[in-house]
Subunit: 290 residues, 2 copies
């Protein structure tokens, strides 16, 4: 595996690869890699001649109350994982390389952000699209890989590609789950043993909501109410939100007559868990982004 | 010359040209082409295998008081000019092709804009960088050509390329002038014969200011005062602004010890004329963008 730390070298390397006719799959990360990231890399490995992963903890997407300096880092572990997934190139720039000075031109995400987790993370997605635009212009990928665990991020990236006419295919990758359905997350280790037993009910709650839609329910509020009830009855977690929105637009709709996301965030004592499912108007699972 | 109106065809055409190893020079315009545009195309023709020009009147860069619908258009004249300059491809999209729906993600220019002409055109450069980012992602140029007549636009494009790591070389092209020094402009026809006689003094005023710097003057305010005096004494025009700023940062500085722009706008009865010169700290003409 080749580790590249400068923008100049990354651009030159990509230009050469492109000239030789290679397709490039790109997995942007903030490091501290877990199974979800590895699945993204494995998908990229299957579909492209060359796989590039980046590790860059992007200060722009941290809010004033979110601790950029204390974001976990584990370089040795990450490089081992990346090698095992047969990634060809790790782009690993220093923050001064990516932001040598303050940006003159800001990107501001105007829609798809003021709901779900974005509601309490003002400016977060502005930072995400800024660094992604930079990375896309440096890496020139043919395909990019993002996990559906953060379905809101996928929706925002979809808007970025569409608004600015990038020639890049967005490949959303299904959430990786434990055998009992619990979405894998580095936060799961912070659950008590009782909470860990309850946590799979979050996914069960989503499935219950989806079943209602399959059976003909068309009112998002009814679905939200049922999912909320299920979580309250089967866990001691505190519901942060349960919402049912159009996807990827993430807008409230009166009637379930298009692709939707059903998404939840539940706060346990030491872990806030999120999960979601995307389905078409008849309740069938659907590809998130066409 | 090949005229392309869809983004899809433009992207496919460029991909093929790139694959064959061609370099692409790009001249984005809003049409109604004059000699300044033709010089951009001629420069692009000299330096690239393939020259692409675009004509697109971008609604996003018009303010509420600026009449987008009445922006002049002359398709036949433009196509003739483009052919004569041996442009290979004209990208000529409809507004619905470029903006099929409202943008979700806005670009906001935070610096370099609240001075000179930008001061009275709030949001103008936001629209400029938005459409340019789209066009760059569609045309994938190696080099882009902009006239130094609009030096502020060149400064903003410079920031766009740098902030977002585009692999594009910005080629600023010198202002085209009449034999007597007057900067060529489609607005010059609106000058009365008396005003037309006076108008070359705008450039003379700039040259006078630059001479002061050559002679050792380091205070921008002294230069501004001298240029203003010269314009007042030699024309009946009303000064809109005379300013002397760092370039391309467009910031006020105490001392002329770096590359500077000296820029003016003068309102005559039926024509507002702008002009500028860029020079290094010793008053020598300099390349605007390195």
């Amino acid at each position: 595996m080749n580790i590249i730390t400068t923008i100049q070298e990354m651009k030159e390397t990509v230009a050469k690869l492109k000239k030789d006719g290679n397709t490039i799959g790109f997995v942007p990360t903030m490091g501290y890699l877990h199974e979800g990231h590895r699945k993204l890399m494995a998908e990229a490995r299957q579909e492209n001649d060359v796989v590039v992963a980046s590790i860059f903890v992007n200060p722009l997407q941290f809010g004033p109350n979110e601790d950029y300096d204390r974001y976990p880092r584990d370089e040795d572990h990450d490089q081992k994982a990346i090698k095992e997934e047969k990634v060809d190139i790790l782009f690993y720039p220093h923050v001064n390389e990516m932001y040598p000075k303050e940006q003159t031109i800001q990107m501001i995400v105007q829609r798809r952000v003021n709901v779900l987790c974005g509601k309490s993370r003002e400016g977060h997605f502005d930072g995400v699209v800024t660094v992604l635009t930079k990375l896309f212009n440096i890496v020139h990928p043919d395909r990019i890989y993002f996990g559906m665990k953060d379905a809101q991020q996928v929706a925002v990236v979809d808007a970025l590609l569409e608004d600015y006419n990038f020639s890049i295919t967005l490949r959303p990758v299904d959430t990786v789950r434990e055998a009992d359905g619990l979405a894998k997350s580095s936060r799961n280790v912070n659950l008590s043993s009782q909470e860990r037993k309850e946590a799979p009910n979050i996914y069960q709650a989503l499935e219950t909501g989806k079943k209602l839609v399959e059976q003909g329910e068309m009112d998002p509020e009814v679905v939200i109410e049922e999912v909320s009830r299920f979580i309250r009855e089967h866990t001691h977690g505190k519901i942060d939100y349960v919402d049912c929105l159009s996807y990827p637009e993430l807008e409230k709709v009166e009637t379930i007559n298009r692709q939707m996301i059903l998404a939840v965030a539940v706060q346990f004592e030491h872990a806030r868990l999120i999960d979601n499912i995307v389905f078409s108007s008849n309740g069938q699972p659907s590809t998130a982004i066409v």
